[in-house]
Amino acid sequence: MDVILFLIFAAIAVVCGINVVVQSHPISSAISLIGVMGSLAVLYLLLGAEFLAAAQVIVYAGAVMVLFVFVIMLLNAGAETRKGRSWMAQLLGLPLVFAFLGLMAYFVQHLFPGAPEVHFGAFRHGTALDVGRALFTQYLLPFEVVSVLILIAILGAVVLARKELE
């Protein structure tokens, strides 16, 4: 059951990922990226990261991607036109990518020979309680710094995107 779920959502993630790169219109890439994030959220659930799965959907798929979709709609970005594609790059590039990924897969399989298999429900420390406890005790300083970072980002975005004061 775990294997079937993993294979389905990994396949969806990879297909949507390829779609992000291949589609010519940015809105189709954005929809595919939402698909990637949704399937990754399910994979996080399979790995026992329940708080992060919810955060992924709320923050990434539900806020960041809405921002992307808004900008694409506001700018009325059309489909991309292709000019001057290098066929040599495609001829060499794709097999190299596959070779690289195959090598990575081989090495990863052999680096972790005794690694535990992922069973759904085996990792119980991904709840909001555990994440919150670690976040507010051990990682308090990065947490506060990141809140200042968000404040700076908000101020920056507001300043950059406002109308010019004539």
Binding site: V20, L40, F68, M104, V118
Partner: protein, 103 residues
């Protein structure tokens, strides 16, 4: 007892998504699509963090992943504001056309 999924499969999936992100970043010309490829790379890295957190039976990987998510959200906000401003000034979304600082 049902078999689980080997951990290396999650890591390979993360590598594949990261490679796709890099390919999109290098090959595409529309600046918004380039940005989305960056988000794809960040998501792939998040998956890696959470996988290792599962293997090491600790919650620290989740914390890293949380911070990556927050930083990515902040970066998306500011980056899209910059894209809006560039579009207002140059009326183009092609990153090849905003190279006036070159040479």
């Amino acid at each position: 007892m049902a078999t689980g999924v080997p951990i290396s499969w999650y890591l390979i999936l993360s590598a594949v998504l990261f490679a796709l992100g890099v390919a999109g970043f290098l090959l595409r010309r529309n600046v918004i699509t380039v940005f989305m490829s960056i988000e794809l790379m960040l998501n792939a890295v998040n998956l890696s963090f959470i996988t290792f957190s599962y293997q090491l039976k600790q919650v620290n990987g989740h914390i890293f992943s949380f911070f990556v998510m927050v930083v990515a959200a902040a970066e998306a906000a500011v980056g899209l504001a910059i894209i809006l401003t560039v579009f207002k000034n140059r009326s183009t979304l092609n990153i090849d056309d905003v190279s006036s600082m070159k040479n």
